[in-house]
């Protein structure tokens, strides 16, 4: 660092004069580690995750924290997490999407129809599903931008429109049923299928079992045969989203668009394009969840993704996103979703009634919002 900023620095040491600038590293040290940690929006989610883990370590059956137990937790967490990360990006960009849950159902219907009704190959059906979802997301975004209505209202309308369309469409496609079966058979086998369903890293787990690193049945097959692909998608998405948010231009534009759209526009940020892209991204995340879950179940129904929009937004808020936009993190939503999975599944490992889950949900949301507001005021020196 210092070499770059002083390209003409002579070899001989310069006697420190009154005009010498203080070394840059010295100034940086003034920022305490605590401040730097406090400044991270995902701090709350991480702290929450630690608390929840401690809670279950002391109350739950030991089997919860075995490898199999963790897969049980992470599986639903990953599906929610994919939605939550997209919702977090959109929320940082200053908008909401309440239609993602319905979009999961609608994308499931579209995907199933492409496979069973038109008989397209899996790859084409997946691509087409993403295209339809992206178009619908773009439509959401354009309506919000052009009418200048709050995205809350526009996407609330789409919550019902898409849920209704899913119902009507399913009945029309299946001749009266709200469930479409036989999608799994039509999907066929092969590389594309493996990307979107079943377990991954099976070879690794077999190898680990053979070397007694993970548990195995007496016949030598590992107890956990692999990692569900949805978990890998979840981790990959979280990593990419975090990188985009923190390291790229697009990330800076997302923060700017949510922080103050006018200021961003005055500085030359294409706010409308950023927001439209974010709406398309959330819709595509919903489509991805639809494809993953429909391929796993082999069927789709009209209740798929029910109320997921709220859970995704809660996970994003627990992850440190401000409802007003401009602040938050993708990795926070990642932790938020894991907290969710841990509590919803974890309660079944305890003696508590698992319906406490809902109570927990609301309490956690309230705590997270209070905590985030407090931290933000501390960090940004809001006066």
């Amino acid at each position: 660092m210092t070499d770059v900023s002083h390209p003409t620095a002579p070899v001989a040491p310069v006697p420190p004069g009154p005009t010498a600038r203080p070394a840059q590293d010295e100034r940086l040290k003034d920022v305490s580690l605590l401040t730097r940690i406090m400044r991270r929006p995902e701090l709350g989610a991480l702290a929450g995750l630690v608390l929840v883990t401690i809670f279950f370590l002391s109350t739950a059956d030991a089997s919860m924290f075995t490898l199999a137990g963790l897969m049980n937790i992470l599986s639903p967490a990953s599906q929610l997490g994919i939605l939550a990360i997209a919702a977090a990006l959109l929320m940082i960009g200053g908008e909401f999407d309440l239609s993602i849950g319905s979009m999961v159902a609608f994308a499931g219907l579209i995907f199933g129809s492409f496979l069973t009704l038109t008989g397209w190959p899996l790859l084409l059906a997946i691509a087409a599903t993403f295209v339809v979802a992206a178009l619908l997301g773009g439509l959401n975004g354009q309506i919000v931008i052009r009418t200048k209505l709050p995205s809350f209202i526009v996407t609330l309308a789409f919550l019902f429109i898409l849920r209704g369309l899913s119902l009507v469409g399913l009945k029309w496609a299946t001749g009266g049923s709200t469930q479409m079966r036989g999608i799994g058979d039509k999907a066929g086998e092969g590389f594309v299928r493996e990307l979107f369903s079943g377990n991954a890293l099976e070879g690794l787990f077999a190898w680990l079992a053979a070397h007694d690193v993970v548990g195995k049945f007496p016949n030598g097959t590992p107890m956990v045969t692999g990692v569900p692909v949805s978990i890998l998608w979840f981790i990959l998405f979280a990593a990419v989203a975090t990188w985009i948010l923190l390291r790229t231009r697009a990330g800076n534009w997302i923060f700017a668009a949510g922080g103050d759209p006018n200021a961003a526009r005055n500085s030359g940020v294409p706010v409308d394009r950023v927001k439209t892209a974010l709406f398309m991204l959330t819709a595509c995340a919903a489509a991805l969840v639809a494809i993953l879950t429909v391929l796993d179940a082999g069927s789709t129904d009209s209740r798929r993704g029910f109320q997921k929009e709220f859970e995704a937004i809660i996970a994003a808020v627990i992850g440190g996103c401000l409802l007003t936009g401009g602040y938050g993190s993708a990795i926070g939503a990642f932790f938020g979703a894991i907290i969710f999975g841990m509590v919803s599944i974890g309660l079944t490992y305890t003696r508590f009634d698992s319906d406490w889950f809902q109570v927990f949900l609301g309490a956690m949301l309230l705590l997270a919002v209070l905590f985030n507001n407090f931290i933000r005021r501390k960090v940004t020196g809001e006066r």
Binding site: D30, V31, R39, R249, G251, V379
Partner: protein, 261 residues
């Protein structure tokens, strides 16, 4: 390129919003190394004028020359590309974002090839610290949020950003209106520095005292028209005040209050 041509030269600029005549023939020039103060009471058309210069509005009629060439902006981006940077009253700064992120907002330098193209944050932080140091703001950590800076510091950051990105003309929309005394003098001092660099500055204010402190020439707007342009040597501060307030009324109030306005 003609170096003698004024940076900005507008002649008889007219702007209608439907049936409302916001500007009815405004003429104004801004030269290099000059602070041109634009004075006027509320509703005089100051905002419309600067928004037209900044490319937000398109003039209904009239001429608009930048460095001797006719221009017609369709977006703020065009104005920026022509070297006209506007620092708005609402600062164009985002409090929750870091100083660096704000400084480079919309013009982030990148490195690497797609899809691995990313913002060169090392360079950004270095430039930010450097530029802040130059204007005498001690930014300990360029990653601190802009919200932690004072109003005057924020205003200076916004101006420094415009200067760094090669502005030839700075339009400052009431930069001192929300500031205390110390912070105002900090901003005024910085405006003086910018002038010495050879930039043209359009300083919008309704505080005559602030205007008189740094201004070279003063243009007074009233009801969408220019009342006139005066050199500093040609006009006294009281005259300017009266002109701006539309004459008599203020004088009367001033006498009533014992000459304190």
């Amino acid at each position: 390129m003609t170096d003698t041509a004024p940076l900005i030269d507008i002649r008889n600029l007219v702007k209608h919003f439907g049936s409302v005549i916001a500007l009815s023939g405004v003429s104004l020039t801004v030269n290099r190394g000059e602070v041109m103060c634009l004075l006027g009471d509320n509703g005089a058309g100051k905002s419309t004028l600067i928004k037209t210069l900044a490319g937000v509005h398109r003039p209904t009629s009239g001429e608009f020359l930048v460095e001797g060439r006719h221009v017609s902006f369709t977006s703020p981006r065009d104005a920026l590309d022509a070297g006209i940077a506007t620092v708005y009253q609402d600062l164009a700064m985002i409090p929750l974002m870091s100083v660096t992120r704000n400084f480079f907002m919309g013009r982030e330098p990148t490195r690497g090839i797609w899809p691995f193209r990313h913002i060169d944050f090392d360079r950004c932080n270095e430039v930010t610290r450097e530029e802040m140091h130059r204007i005498g703001i001690d930014v300990r950590d360029p990653n601190q949020a802009v919200g932690t800076l004072s109003g005057g510091e924020r205003q200076c950051v916004a101006i420094a950003r415009a200067v760094y990105f090669g502005a030839k003309v700075l339009i400052l929309d009431e930069p001192t209106s929300a500031l205390g005394v110390a912070q105002t003098s900090m901003v005024l001092k910085y405006i003086h520095q910018v002038r010495q660099k050879g930039l043209g500055v359009i300083f919008i204010t309704h505080n005559v005292r602030h205007a008189y402190a740094v201004g070279d020439r003063f243009t007074v707007l009233n009801r969408g028209k220019t009342l006139g342009t005066y050199k500093k040597s040609d006009i006294q501060i009281d005259e300017l005040q009266n002109l701006m307030a539309g004459g008599k009324e203020l004088q009367a109030v001033s006498e009533e209050l014992g000459g304190m306005v």
